[in-house]
Structure formats: structure tokens, C-alpha cells
């Protein structure tokens, strides 16, 4: 009985393709919107997660103030001695790199570029997960001697040198001339959308003595801590927090005036934020799917009126009311399933193209496609039922007389 109803439904749809197209349109748009939103959301989540991972592995960061934003400005900065003490504070710590950040204008011949100078120690490269694309990092001797040497990020190489080879060249930062000894391999966009490659890395000593002048020249902006593989970063966070509370003289019960952040935690936070946004967008898109369903009901209702005579004919030659009900229900179901399939097809093409434009990975999630498909089928049954029941309740005599 279902198969014959399916045959009748398909024939009816084929007999009026324009009507079928208009009916399906709402569902197509609804399904496509839901799937695109979720796919792009998942792509964004994945890209945020991978960018946070690019900060470095097993990374813990200590920064003055609470939270990640610029609000931490009033809290006292760390000193170099804090970094040294942190290195000894927990058995899980592999290496520590204090970081001092200074805005500078880098000049090479006629080119200049505003960027951040990062003053740090030798361990920085491994702690922050940088690899060398060319040349080398600075040595312990160069650090101790506060030598004027620097390592450039990819963006600076492009902006200052273009096609020329940077290693061995000399650039000017403020009043200091320093030699380029290496180039960092590109990391791309950061989790907050910033350019991670617009950076110059120098020995901390060089920054303190030659770039910062006198004011605050012993301060470091943050301390990056790398944990051993397999070591508990939670433990490291706890030990470092205890140490810093003691060193900064914070009494029992008082709040920290610094933060110790685990990159895993950062990734989780950012990931859950994007997930919430994804859900929100998907919910908005789901509303359009609902509207599509109402469109199906609308057109099916009109079509029941329009096809009253047809229903009368079918009933007079022996179609049962339940068969007429099934026919209209199956018709709505077939329409919405076709709409769902077209919508998913459109969504795949659309999210693939959009992911390319937005620079996030294209994620194919079979689950959301299945859900959207099932939802569109449910919409067909749900909104096809009222018109189908109305058709089935018609009296054959009245239906035949209907003009």
C-alpha cells in the first residue's frame, strides 16, 4: 500500500513540477541554512582549537592581572627573577621563557614596519613552539652579552625584504642596528585573529638595555612555561600560582593579581564560545526550516482544494479514505525529502565555498546532515498531515460535484 501510494505521489509531483518546486523551496533553504551554519561553526571551532595549539605544546602562561584582556594593566608586572623562580617551582616544568614586549618600528633601507619586539631567553623558541625557516635562533652567549641580533617573523621578511634574503642583513630598531640571524616558520593567524608572524625576537637583555630606555627595564610582560610531555599542567598551574602568591605577598583569602593560564583551558574556553555561537546560528536557521514546513502545509492545503475533484474521482472508483490520506502524506514526505536532499547538496557546496573564503577548514559532519535530513522528513509528515486528513475526510459525492 505504501509503495503504490509512493508511485501515485511521485506521478502527482511529476505532473506539476512548478508547484513541487515552490513547495520544496522553503525546505531547501531551511536545510541548507542549518547545515551551512553548523558546518561553518564547526570549521571555526576547529580552526580556533588548532590556532591555540599552535601557541605551543603543554604551554602554561603567567600574566599579571586577571583575565586575558588588557584589564590587567594595573597589576604590578613580573620581574626576571620571577621567571627564574618559576623554573624551580614545579617538577613538571621543562623550560621557562620570560617575555618582554615592546612596540617598535623596524627599518630596512627604504622599508619600515611597525611591529612587536619580543625580548626573551634562548628557551623561548621551543617553549612557544617556533621552528626556524632559515638561519638560527640566538645563543646563550648572545643572550648574556646582550648582542644586537634578531630573528624575524614571516610578515616582517615580506614587508622589509620582499624577495631579498634577510639572513645576514642589518635592520634598525629605534637607535639600535641589529643583525638578522634567522627567520621563523610561519604560524599564520592567531586565535584572536592577530598576525602571529608580525614579530621580531631578540634576547631579553638586548631589549632591556638597548630598546626600553630606563623605565621599567627589569619588567617582563609574561612568563611562558612549558611542561614536560605527560606532566600534569594542572599541577604546574597550581605550583606556579602558589609561588607567585608568595612572591607577590598576597595573603590568604585575597584574590590573585595575576593569571596562570593553561593553553588547553584557553582552547576549551574559545571552543565552547564558538560552539555556543554555532548553536545559536543553527537555531536561527532551524526557524527557517520551520517556515519551510509551513510553506509545505500551505501549498498542500491549496492543492487539496485544487484537487478536490481528483480526490472525488479516486474515492468513487474505490480509493479508501486512508489511501487518500497516505497519498497526500507520502506526497508531502517525498517533497520534503527531495527538498532536504537538495538542501544538503547546496549546503555542502555552499559551506565548502564559504569555508574557503573565510579561511577556515571545511568540515563534513555526517551527523548534522543526517539530523537536518531527518528533520526535513519530519517537517513533511508533520505539516503534510493536516492537508492529507482534510483530503481524506472529503465526501466523494461532494468532491465530484466540486467545480
Amino acid at each position: 500500500m505504501f509503495w503504490s501510494a509512493l508511485g501515485i505521489a511521485v506521478r502527482e509531483i511529476r505532473r506539476n513540477l512548478v508547484r513541487a518546486f515552490l513547495t520544496v523551496l522553503g525546505v531547501v533553504i531551511g536545510v541548507a541554512a542549518v547545515v551551512i551554519m553548523v558546518s561553518l561553526g564547526q570549521g571555526a571551532t576547529e580552526s580556533v582549537t588548532s590556532q591555540v595549539a599552535s601557541l605551543g605544546s603543554n604551554l602554561v602562561m603567567a600574566i599579571p592581572g586577571q583575565g586575558m584582556g588588557p584589564t590587567g594593566g594595573t597589576a604590578p608586572a613580573f620581574r626576571l627573577s620571577d621567571a627564574t623562580a618559576i623554573a624551580e617551582s614545579s617538577p613538571g616544568i621543562r623550560a621557562v621563557a620570560p617575555v618582554k614586549i615592546q612596540g617598535v618600528n623596524a627599518v630596512y633601507l627604504q622599508q619600515d614596519w611597525s611591529t612587536q619586539a619580543v625580548g626573551t631567553t634562548v628557551d623561548y623558541f621551543s617553549v612557544a613552539g617556533w621552528e626556524m625557516a632559515e638561519g638560527r635562533g640566538f645563543t646563550e652567549a648572545e643572550y648574556l652579552g646582550a648582542r644586537p641580533v634578531c630573528v624575524l617573523g614571516e610578515t616582517l621578511v615580506e614587508e622589509l625584504f620582499g624577495q631579498q634574503r634577510p639572513v645576514g642583513a642589518r635592520i634598525r630598531l629605534k637607535t639600535m642596528t641589529c643583525e638578522v640571524i634567522g627567520v621563523l616558520r610561519s604560524k599564520g593567524q592567531g586565535a584572536m585573529g592577530q598576525d602571529q608572524d608580525s614579530v621580531i625576537v631578540l634576547p631579553l637583555t638586548t631589549v632591556q638595555r638597548r630598546l626600553s630606555g630606563r623605565v621599567g627595564n627589569r619588567d617582563v610582560a609574561r612568563v611562558m612555561i612549558s611542561a614536560h610531555d605527560g606532566a600534569s599542567t594542572e599541577r604546574v598551574v597550581r605550583d606556579v600560582t602558589d609561588l607567585l602568591r608568595e612572591r607577590r605577598g598576597i595573603r590568604e583569602g585575597e584574590d590573585d593579581d595575576f593569571s596562570v593560564l593553561d593553553t588547553k583551558e584557553i582552547a576549551d574556553t574559545l571552543g565552547s564560545t564558538t560552539r555556543i555561537l554555532t548553536l545559536l546560528l543553527a537555531a536561527v536557521a532551524a526557524v527557517s526550516l520551520l517556515v519551510g514546513g509551513i510553506g509545505i502545509m500551505n501549498i498542500m492545503l491549496v492543492s487539496v482544494t485544487e484537487r478536490t475533484r481528483e480526490i472525488g474521482i479516486r474515492m468513487s472508483i474505490g480509493a479508501l479514505p486512508s489511501e487518500v490520506l497516505l497519498q497526500f502524506l507520502v506526497e508531502a514526505l517525498v517533497l520534503s525529502v527531495i527538498g532536504g536532499l537538495i538542501g544538503i547538496g547546496l549546503a555542502l557546496a555552499g559551506s565548502y565555498a564559504l569555508a574557503g573564503v573565510m579561511g577556515i577548514p571545511f568540515v563534513f559532519d555526517p551527523e548534522i546532515n543526517l539530523i537536518a535530513f531527518a528533520f526535513s522528513a519530519a517537517v513533511g509528515v508533520l505539516f503534510g498531515f493536516t492537508p492529507a486528513r482534510r483530503a481524506a475526510q472529503l465526501d466523494p459525492i461532494d468532491a465530484l460535484r466540486f467545480e
Partner: protein
């Protein structure tokens, strides 16, 4: 219903004291006021009457499109009064064929598909459906038109397709409701000759409603309905004789 039932009861249709009332209370309208009627298998009966006489109501009751308010209706020995909508639909599906004034073919559907439709509801397999529909179309002389859509056919052709659809299931009774009402005289003659031939050659029982005496003349028995009652019920020969006497 088995053939032994059928043999046991000589009449395929038997109405006793059938009434039909539409509406209730003051607004009630008694369309039929006590009809007794017997139709034997193989008969060709014409039901005549002015509009409002109750002939269409009688037709709807006989065709199981409606059920009587009171009285009994035996179709092939089986009681039809008090059947549900579904049960009446099943009786129509398995034992009855219909031809209407307005042809009532499905639009944008080929002649063959139209004829196949009742077989589809009977659950006949696709191959058999095709074969039986072709045979029915051949019987009405429209096999060459099988793949034409219904709106490409003339009125007479459409009505012949409707006849083919009605006989494709080999019904016990063919009901024709003003089958020539929308046709010109030539097409009317063709359709009536077709129905007569089906009655005579294939022994299909025919019950036809008409208000045109020329069409009723094709039948072998003419029933006249007036004010919800059967006013006259005579074999055609008698009627012709009466006319001659007059």
C-alpha cells in the same frame, strides 16, 4: 460475496422501503420516500426523472456512494445499509464501475494511466494492470490513443476512456450518471452504442441515470422517479407499445 450467494439470490440489486432524508428538523428534505426496486444481473436499466425527483439520490445509494436513512439494500445478497465509508469504498472498488457526466478523468494523465487507476487500487500487479487497461481501451476502440493525455481527447473520446476505466475491473454493475449530458448527438450515440454492446456482449449489468428519452431508449427497462418515489417501472417494449397505442 461469492458466486453461490449471487445464484441464491436472483436479483443483484434489491431495495426494500428505502428512504433518504437530508438535514434534520424543519430543514429536513426527504429525497427518497420508500423505494422498492429489483435489478437482475445482466439488465440494462435507465432511471429517468426531472431534476429534484430523487433520481441522483437513488443512483448514489445504488452506487454505494451514500447509504440509505432507512430501509434495506441488498447488493448481490449482501446488506449495504449501515456500512462505513471504508466498507462502501471497498464495495465500489471490487464490484462497481462508474461513468459520470463530466467524464472525471485525471488531468494531465494519459488515457492508459486513467484506465489503470482502479486496478492500482485493487493492487493488481503492474504488468497485469497494463494488459487489462489495454484490453479495456481496445474494447472502447481507443487503443491508438492510449498515450494521449486526457485533455488532448475530444469529449466523446474522454467519455469512452471513462467507460474503459469503469469496465477495466470487470465490475458486477456499471453505473452511468448522465453519460451523454456533455456530448453532442454523434458522440452520444457512440457512447450509448458502446454501453449497449458491453451490456449485450459481455453481460455487464448497467444502471444509467438520464433525463433524455432518446438515451433511455437504449435501455431495456425504464424506471421513472417522481417526488422520491418510483412512479413507473416498465420494460421498454411495453413502453413502446403504450406509446404506439397512445
Amino acid at each position: 460475496m461469492t458466486s453461490s450467494d449471487h445464484n441464491a439470490c436472483s436479483s443483484i440489486i434489491q431495495l426494500r422501503g428505502v428512504t433518504k432524508t437530508y438535514g434534520t428538523g424543519n430543514a429536513a428534505f426527504r429525497a427518497l420516500r420508500g423505494v422498492d426496486l429489483d435489478v437482475e444481473a445482466g439488465e440494462f436499466v435507465a432511471i429517468m426523472g426531472a431534476s429534484g425527483s430523487g433520481k441522483s439520490t437513488l443512483m448514489n445509494l445504488l452506487g454505494c456512494l451514500d447509504s440509505p436513512t432507512t430501509g434495506s439494500y441488498l447488493f448481490g445478497g449482501r446488506a449495504m445499509q449501515g456500512l462505513s465509508k471504508e466498507q462502501r469504498a471497498l464495495v465500489r472498488r471490487h464490484y462497481l464501475g462508474f461513468v459520470f457526466q463530466g467524464y472525471n478523468l485525471l488531468a494531465r494523465t494519459t488515457a492508459l494511466e486513467n484506465v489503470e487507476l482502479p486496478l492500482l487500487y485493487r493492487g493488481v500487479s503492474r504488468r497485469q494492470r497494463r494488459e487489462r487497461a489495454r484490453r479495456a481501451l481496445d474494447a472502447v476502440g481507443l487503443l491508438p490513443w492510449q498515450s494521449h493525455s486526457s485533455n488532448e481527447l475530444s469529449g466523446g473520446q474522454q467519455q469512452r476512456v471513462a467507460v474503459a476505466r469503469a469496465i477495466a475491473t470487470d465490475p458486477r454493475v456499471l453505473f452511468a450518471d448522465e453519460p451523454t449530458g456533455n456530448l453532442d448527438s454523434k458522440a452520444s450515440r457512440e457512447v450509448m452504442q458502446l454501453i449497449t454492446r458491453l451490456n449485450q456482449e459481455q453481460g455487464i449489468t448497467v444502471v444509467m441515470v438520464t433525463h433524455e428519452p432518446e438515451m433511455a431508449d437504449y435501455a431495456r427497462r425504464i424506471i421513472t422517479v417522481r417526488d422520491g418515489l418510483i412512479a413507473r417501472d416498465v420494460p421498454r417494449e411495453t413502453q413502446l407499445a403504450e406509446v404506439e397505442v397512445a
